[in-house]
Symmetry: C2
Subunit: 335 residues, 2 copies
DNA sequence: ATGAAAGCGCTAACAC
DNA sequence: GTGTTAGCGCTTTCAT
């Protein structure tokens, strides 16, 4: 059943049917009714390919993230997908992992699909300082479609970023730890992403402004697996710390497991915070204080910007949107 | 840059270019080289819409799930997406929630996008006994494209199902609880989905074969939120039980929270198991024994079946694939 | 307000 | 082995 069939059944031309489908004002109400009835009866749906060919758009947004099975990204993707649908767009989802060549491959693949815009979820796409060549593919993509980064920042034409203020919140949390008497704060981290770098900067900056030394030993890079973190901490008997900032809830829960195994009192003996305010944080015992970096908010901003860009002529949008984070206090902190 | 431009630059016809793009054997190696070089130079990518129009397929698979922010589904989607890409297909992701009308809407939307196949993740799409009308839309969809259910079963032409043997594993777990001396086993559940129904059947059947009564009080339907479960259990002071089967890790962790709050010894005073073997289960304290229903395996089976159907003429595939589950024992069980 | 007809960029059947 | 050409189903001028 195609537009010709409908046109014939309705006794009009395909142009008129097309106009009805697109709700053009230049068709009489009467004709519209009639055509719509015929379409309804026959369960007609316009062929998206043909339409895409003509309009060079299929109203699809590409979403790229390293891994949807990660809770943070899953939340973001779920939120994005829902909002996009409300605006009449569909989502092609791709999970690129963290490897450079794969990321690049996926971006070209997505572009080849003629997506209307590209959303990249996760600070891994923001690249690392000193390795600017690795973000070239994002810059290139932005010349074809608007690119939106969630939880990362990248300066470039047609690239719009929304991210939590990781620097500030880490600065604040670190400061509060220091002010409540902590002196040896372990910074647990599992990557060198944009976000991780900002968190580290906030941490170090807080130490410095309180006249505390930045100790290399207290910056620990580990894999984000709860038992791995626990075991590494247990093994490093030389390492002394009275508090920990985990850049992800998984890392922080690993620290809780460590503390429990060593029969340390939380938060008295050791104070712990995580990031992302995921379900993990209410699962552990004691429950974890965790930074909420407001993914939903970041997603909303992104969608709102995207719609303006896709629909308006001259949108005027900030390419750089930083959102304050907040610490959700539970039982692993005493401030 | 389209096929005509390339043809002109290469000094051949568009047919030849098309053949090169599709790697047809009926082009001389020399011509291929030349055309490919030109395509490379000019960064040519075939227009997917035009191609879709001709072939009536864009090599995209629709994935429908109630909610990707759920860990179980996120794992499944991540796995599916990766495998699909390896086979040259892309995924359009839709999150339908649990409401009937929305599910139906999404399915027609996906079909309108001319997907090559539809994967439905989650037993919610398998419907409930006695409400056959609610699965009509799945049956209808299957007349257009092959439909694959993950973690649910539905008997219908062109519908292929892969699911864990929830009945058997719940029967086994219940039996082991009984044989290790438990008499009042609480069945915690948050839905009436196909999967939930099968689990309940296994539970009741085990009770019966051990000569134990099936008590209505011990079947509790609650929302899958950790604190909610804990609080409800704490409030129901009349309810007596010495063991808990949670049909999801979240529910079981709620039970752990309850036990901890009441200073019950786990597993001595109360024995607890969950489902899905998610990160939650290693987060809690004590760590939760949980049924692994092998999503990856289910996904692999599905993909493998799908590829056969999409590529072969007469595949011969079982529409009904049941996979055994296994209990991953941690610290909340004593058997 | 409506229709005729020219694309959109590709595939594939057919001709050579 | 390569070229010609007729669709695929729609949108969109341009007439009327």
């Amino acid at each position: 059943m195609n537009i010709y069939d409908i046109a014939e059944l309705a006794g009009v031309s395909i142009a008129t049917v097309s106009r009805v489908v697109n709700d053009s004002p230049r068709v009489s109400e009467k004709t519209k009714q009639k055509v719509r009835a015929i379409m309804e009866e026959n369960g007609y749906t316009p062929n998206v390919f043909a339409r895409g060919l003509g309009l060079d758009s299929m109203k699809t947004i590409g979403i790229l993230c390293p891994d949807v099975s990660d809770a943070y990204m899953a939340t973001a993707v779920a939120h994005l997908e829902r909002s996009m649908h409300e605006h009449g767009y569909d989502c092609i989802l791709c999970c690129s992992g963290f490897e450079q060549s794969i990321k690049e491959k996926y971006v070209s693949l997505l572009l080849a699909k003629r997506i209307d815009a590209l959303i990249m979820v996760g600070s891994t796409y923001a690249g690392v300082e000193g390795e600017e060549s690795r973000i070239q593919y994002v810059l290139d993509a932005a010349r074809q479609v608007p690119v939106f980064l969630i939880n990362g920042y990248l300066d470039g034409e047609n690239i719009y970023c929304a991210y939590g203020d990781d620097y500030q919140i880490t600065y604040d949390v670190t400061s509060q730890m220091i002010e409540s008497g902590r002196r040896r704060i372990l910074f647990l981290c599992d990557s060198h992403s944009y976000s991780a770098v900002r968190k580290l900067a906030g941490y170090e900056s807080a130490l410095k402004s309180h006249g505390l030394p930045v100790l290399g030993d207290l910056k620990l890079y580990v894999k984000n697996r709860i038992h791995t973190v626990r075991d590494i901490l247990l093994e490093r008997r030389d390492l002394r710390f009275d508090s920990v900032i985990g850049t992800d809830d998984g890392l922080a829960v690993g620290a809780i497991k460590y503390a429990n195994a060593k029969l340390l009192k939380i938060p008295e003996d050791i104070c712990i915070t995580g990031f992302n305010n995921s379900t993990l944080s209410i699962c552990s015992d004691p429950e974890l204080s965790s930074v909420d970096n407001r993914v939903e908010e970041l997603c909303n901003i992104t969608i709102s910007n995207m719609m303006k860009i896709l629909q308006e002529k001259d949108p005027q949008i900030s390419r750089n949107c930083k959102v304050p984070c907040r610490l959700v206090k539970r039982c692993t902190t005493d401030f």
